[in-house]
């Protein structure tokens, strides 16, 4: 999306499209609390920001590196259970626990990714699928540590004697985390690494001819995506005050991939739109109760068939077409 925008005829003042994306996200985060009628909306928005953070990371892997992770929720799980297990079982305060979880997540991504990226094709999808299912199984089975299928409570964060609670507080924490995440992602996209990754996506042969180390770059994108996911998981667990193995489930992984694809691969704003739709829609569909799964499945199919590039790039394309 950013590239297409860059080649459009210059307007009077040319803002870099990346800056536009960042300003857009910041404005949305800043303005929404003013229009929300109740705390319920703040809670849902906070969920969108945390999911959005993970999706922005996954988008780097899918949109830039062209690789799919079908076990991305596992990294969320590592982050979430780190802040749950650390304080409860090991006596480590929540924030160091979160950092440890994020580091562990990066390490796991590196170990899983290292041998995989030597291969061409969708092997990462299979490896992450296997790893994700394994982790979900461990989280469900090791009840002594994880509370089993029911999950476990997470201790509230205390900073200098101040207990971090309340819908608005968490709205700002997650919102700011998202803005930072988006800024870093946009930065990475504009960096030489980002350019090399895009070159790789367009033509791996051409990119390697000019000296791009394909395997190393894909691994970098995967590790970065895992760090985003673990951060998102840690925030989610601290905000909710509990974790369940569902955080790391296969269906959750599928949801993340769907968010990226529905919103539009390679578009940061698209990633957020995808997250907003998939988080908010089930909330709206609860009135339909037992029809929820069917309706969600149907919507995913319809979106994918008719807006193949995703909502944001698709709409931008439509808009351009109309102006001509």
């Amino acid at each position: 999306m950013t590239d297409a925008a860059a080649t459009s005829p210059p307007s009077r003042r040319t803002w870099s499209p990346r800056l536009v994306s960042l300003v857009f996200v910041t404005v949305v985060v800043a303005v929404l609390p003013l229009v929300f009628p109740s705390n319920y909306y703040l809670r849902v928005a906070s969920l969108v920001w945390t999911s959005g953070l993970a999706v922005v990371g996954l988008n780097l892997l899918m949109g830039l590196a062209g690789q799919v992770s079908l076990g991305h929720a596992a990294f969320l799980g590592i982050g979430a259970y780190a802040v749950a297990i650390g304080p409860t079982h090991l006596g480590v305060p929540p924030i160091p626990s979160a950092l440890a979880g994020i580091a562990l997540s990066a390490l796991v991504a590196w170990i899983v990714g290292k041998p995989i990226f030597r291969l061409k094709g969708y092997y990462l999808a299979v490896a992450t699928l296997g790893f994700g299912l394994l982790l979900a199984l461990v989280l469900t089975s090791e009840s002594a540590w994880t509370g089993g299928p029911d999950g476990m409570p997470v201790e509230r964060v205390e900073l200098f004697g101040w207990r971090v609670t309340g819908a608005l507080t968490w709205y700002w924490i997650t919102g700011v985390a998202l803005i930072i995440g988006v800024a870093l992602a946009l930065n990475l996209e504009a960096s030489p690494t980002g350019r090399a990754l895009r070159a790789l996506h367009d033509s791996e042969v051409a990119a390697s001819v000019v000296g791009v180390d394909a395997a190393r770059l894909k691994l970098t994108a995967f590790v970065v995506a895992a760090v985003y996911a673990a951060t998102s998981g840690a925030l989610l667990a601290l905000m909710n005050g509990f974790v369940t193995p569902d955080t790391a489930s296969f269906m959750h992984s599928v949801e993340f991939v769907t968010m990226v694809v529905i919103g539009g691969m390679g578009s940061v704003v698209g990633a957020l739109v995808g997250a907003a739709i998939l988080v908010a829609l089930p909330q709206a569909l609860t009135v339909l109760q037992e029809y929820e799964t069917a309706v969600l499945g149907l919507l995913i199919m319809v979106f994918m068939i008719f807006l193949r590039q995703g909502i944001v790039p698709g709409l931008i394309g439509l808009f351009r077409g109309m102006r001509r």
């Binding site: 299979v126 299912l133 037992e290």
Partner: protein
């Protein structure tokens, strides 16, 4: 020895079901490069439809046939309404479409049927057969025999019929197949139909042993996919061997190491295969692709 044999029997029985799901995967994958994540839902449709028809008084064989036909219709609709309109989309998009389809089927099944576990009576009695101290359920023979019959029938279909050869040609080279006058869209529809019938048959055969529920599809898809990867994606022989192997790994893992991690062993197996021989057991020599 009796224990070993017991685990082997149960592993082969479950493995035969996985093998059938993996065969369905392989068929569609070869005809279109689509990894069909709704594959396991055909198994659920087969089992659940048979259960509910049988409960209304329809004789079991007739109920099974209607159930398999239902799955075939669902498979054809899936191809016509979801895969065909998205022709030319990237593999990831197609995968997401089938995941959406799987959710849709599951959601509808939970409304049409219910959320309970269901079982069918065994086809030929429950009296176990004793072999060297281990026992074998007659239904296991049905599953194994059914699996073998499907494999032979599929082989005959592909090697001895014109349509089967057209499927093989499409798998080998889609453009080439179109050049010699094969309608590849029809071939893909056939692949979906056959694949659905194989899945549904597996569901009918396995339900007396493994029970069935509206959400059985997800785990069946994962196991079938794992089996197909283990054997080497795209190889029908690999799918069968991968399925049986996966069943055995699970049975022995559960029996000798830990029953809690029964499902875990199969996923560890996938990771090991991926790291050691990424093309799967039979992927390297993909001479006879279906």
């Amino acid at each position: 020895m009796a224990e070993f044999l017991q685990f082997a029997f149960s592993g082969l029985t479950v493995g035969a079901v996985y093998a059938l799901v993996a065969l369905g995967f392989t068929l569609i994958y070869n005809a279109s490069d689509v990894v069909n994540f709704a594959q396991g839902d055909f198994v659920m449709i087969g089992g659940m439809s048979t259960v509910f028809l049988y409960a209304t008084g329809v004789p079991l064989p007739l109920a099974a046939i209607i159930a398999i036909l239902t799955a075939v219709i669902v498979g054809l609709l899936l191809h016509r309404l979801a895969i065909e309109p998205a022709r030319g989309a990237s593999p990831v998009t197609l995968i997401i479409i089938t995941i959406g389809a799987s959710m849709f089927i599951r959601g509808v099944a939970q409304i049409v049927f219910d959320k309970q576990f269901h079982q069918l009576p065994a086809f030929s009695g429950d009296r176990p057969i004793e072999i060297l101290g281990a026992t074998l359920l007659p239904q296991s023979l049905w599953v194994l025999g059914g699996g073998l019959a499907v494999f032979v029938a599929l082989w005959l279909f592909l090697e001895r019929t014109l349509i089967g050869k057209a499927v093989l040609a499409t798998a080998a080279n889609r453009l080439g197949a179109r050049l010699v006058g094969i309608n590849t869209a029809v071939i893909l529809a056939i692949a979906f139909g056959v694949s659905a019938s194989i899945g549904a048959l597996a569901g009918v055969l396995a339900t007396p042993i493994t029970l069935t529920r509206f959400d059985l599809g997800t785990i069946m898809t994962l196991k079938g996919f794992a089996a197909a990867m283990l054997g080497g994606m795209g190889s029908p022989l690999g799918a069968v061997v991968g399925g049986l192997l996966l069943g055995l790994i699970e049975a022995f893992g559960a029996g000798y190491i830990s029953s809690v991690y029964k499902d875990g062993f199969s996923f560890i197996a996938i990771l090991v295969v991926l790291f050691v021989m990424p093309r799967g057991l039979f992927g390297g020599r993909s001479v006879e692709r279906v």
